[in-house]
Symmetry: D2
Subunit: 277 residues, 4 copies
């Protein structure tokens, strides 16, 4: 079934790939990485407060959208370059590298000037021109699984990046679309395990989009680490009820602290540790 894979296949590359982000952050191997921050960058002070909290609790990367894909053209779609500047300021303050989404081939150069990791969002997983353009920056790429992409299609999307000469791909499972509507998406935990078996690339899990309900995030994050994921990506906000997007799935600062404690314990139970610990 997966014969069309070349560079992404573990058959051709048995050892785990470690993706070096810079700032002493490496994703993969025996270490668990945590990427955290609000869904969208909404303003400088708000963002820096969350960033400091993430740093204090032991998080490894900051997330935050400057360019936001929105289902409706009438929704808030991000601060654009101003958002990127805030992300860079947060890196300055905390020392943590930043990951942010890019949606247009014409923005790739701009975003790469500010961000440490370029994120391909779920809707753009098969935007092949974008995959190639992002690859050519040389920056590590966080490749979210399309919400209706098979494992094979996901890995072939990674193959687009790899075959463009960029070997720093981090896969991110963020839930697939199913008939179930109680949760926003359905985290494919078996798929995470399968991808770790099929491919050498690191895989992280986003339980925020994967559940769409803050009350479910911590437990699914624990499950991800127990299943062998290399890290998690979660939305955190000072005041989820006031978030400009996706507040319903954002952890409070306090809940994030508890999450860190819990995954530390799960990591230890399977012979791993949080990165840099």
């Amino acid at each position: 079934m997966l014969n069309s894979l070349r560079l992404a296949s573990r058959k051709n590359h048995p050892e785990d790939t470690l993706v070096d982000i810079g700032n002493n952050v490496v994703i993969g191997g025996k270490k668990i990485s945590v990427i955290a921050g609000p869904c969208a960058v909404e303003g400088r002070d708000l963002y820096l407060e969350v960033a400091r909290w993430v740093k204090k609790e032991g998080g490894h990367l900051l997330r935050g959208g400057a360019f936001k894909p929105r289902t409706s053209p009438y929704s808030f779609s991000g601060l654009g370059e101003e958002g990127l500047r805030i992300l860079a300021a947060a890196r300055e303050v905390t020392g943590l590298p930043v990951v942010t989404e890019v949606m247009d081939t014409r923005d790739v150069e701009l975003v790469a000037r500010y961000a440490d990791v370029l994120q391909i969002g779920s809707r753009n997983m098969q935007n092949y021109a974008l995959l190639r353009e992002v690859a050519q920056t040389g920056r590590p790429v966080l490749l979210k699984r399309g919400f209706a992409a098979t494992i094979k299609e996901w890995l072939l999307a990674a193959e687009y990046v790899l075959s463009s000469g960029n070997s720093s791909v981090i896969l991110c499972e963020r839930g697939i679309r199913t008939f179930e509507t109680y949760t926003r998406n359905t985290i494919d935990i078996g798929g995470v395990v399968a991808v770790k078996e099929i491919s050498h690339l690191p895989v992280i899990v986003d339980p925020s989009h994967g559940t769409g309900r803050a009350s479910l995030v911590r437990a699914v994050a624990r499950a991800a680490v127990a299943a062998g994921a290399d890290g998690i990506m979660v939305e955190v906000h000072q005041n989820p009820d006031c978030a400009l997007s996706d507040g319903f799935q954002s952890l409070t600062l306090e809940a994030f602290s508890e999450l860190m404690q819990e995954i530390r314990l799960i990591a230890a139970a399977i012979g791993k540790a949080l990165a840099a610990e």
Copy 2:
């Protein structure tokens, strides 16, 4: 449920939208339009032969991919500008306008120089930068439904085009992804009827991608017209077994002729007619 719709909503625009393509082709209203041609433009002579056949049998637009989205980076991905030139030549010869896909914001100007209708493919339905860029050419836009997009998301994607000042949007149902694997996709025939009720935009159906099996195409095309679709889009190839992509779902020239005859009869049964008849 559909309160977020503004310009695409039939509530705000009760009468059917007719999209004028030029060359005396109008999509919508009481007329059925047929878009046909091979999946990819593979070469000049092959393409012109199919184009002449489509014209002879009463087809209204020519299709053919010059830039092809492919799941694997190692598959044939189209002839690029050479393919566009062939499409323009076919228009010259037949008088039929041409529709072709554009995948990258940076190619929009190029493709718009050659094509009469710009197609947004299923994988790019939520590529919002592309939607806006395509809208701004002023060319009619054929907006394929994302293979896992809800009706609401599909109409909101149309809303991106409409709100960018381009009112010439043709929706295209091409099958959604379900658990069924016998067919390539599952044509959402109820969705076609629903969209005609919710929106004033014309809707066509692509039974080639929608079934992935040539033997099922004609019957599904008849169903589409009977359900109220404004037209169909089908793949036709002289020698489907040798097609560079999607041959298994392409009609032969003879089968296309029979299809035209069949939908002529179905159209009449519901008080419509093929366009230009």
Copy 3:
């Protein structure tokens, strides 16, 4: 893929199966049959009124649930044997045979005493004990597709009936469960065509459950006939707003009359006719 099929396969039985229901009703071949009636049998007078209307408009069989499967144990679940008696009375009055669902192996004998066709509902498509018990009555069986059953599983369920010695199986596509929520289910119109190709058994379509919206039923019924289905099964109610179950998807008496007129025209367009015309 479908090698496990034996008795249901067209390879082994190329000609179309005609299912003889009695009372001069035969399903399959070049004739279109219409099964109509309310979702549930709610009372004698109401039922007889609908039954007479169905007869007058040219319908061929009466439907109505006496035993209703309900998602919640607290919902109305049918009149039981009293409902069966009303169905028999309606047959007496109209001369039309009746089809009704049976859900429990222990009720099969009872239901078979009253009904002309035994229906296996979508939830019970893989209730194998029930399939075998129903088969052994010798009555024709209307086998609804499970709402998440593949075409292969559906035909293998038919194979349970056939291999129990009962060759009178009518398949019924009633929509599958997908991510789309605007419609109650997604009618798999391509699946209908596929099943007609793979199997010799007659296939009818239920656009009422298949869409869950009365305003979409007529168009989908037209599509079903145009695609080659052997008939349709629709819910009709004097006063849909007051129906004890599924009123939102029931046609009014007037809409049913229009439906009959429309499918008569579509049938003619593909060289068929309504049964008994």
Copy 4:
């Protein structure tokens, strides 16, 4: 959304339900239970060997099908009462209670004579007559989620059992049907967490059916425990390659031993322990 729930709702019953199976086995609360055994009971000696291994490694219940639902009527469908006798013998030998599936209302009394827990399989989750009949035995009921059932429908199926006077319901997530085909089903790990939040009933996870690949089972079992499931149910076979059904997803005896060790560690990491330890 879940207002139709009464007896299954945590709102009406805040504390966790503990289901007492007898033989000192209780499911729920702070304890993790493990149910293991081959898919089908294939013979006395084979079964007893697996049963002793499960007991030795600390498993809590034995599983094994005597009546097997099979998609094709031509597949092996279990040993019937002979299989039940073997299960009873295994209980005798090991002291572990046994769980087995019942598929026909008419078999419920027979199966209840031998089994400690009656299993409702995925295909029968909405077989309401069966739910009621099983409830009335007073035996604990293991209710597998239908492979295309929403969380709401699953809990309403539990409500059928509860409202029939039987409060001993154990829910079992076994994977849902999605577009992904690499795994047999998609384990809904977020759904497990959601159900624990919505309902007071214990929930276990079946990673064997949930993945359909033995190599993925252990990791998904760890994830289930980390997410808060009350136990797991896994298929174990001496020689998976020779199993009469589902061998491809069965653990070897050695792999089962490793699984027990791993979930012991995960349980401890979240403040739980294996039952009876």
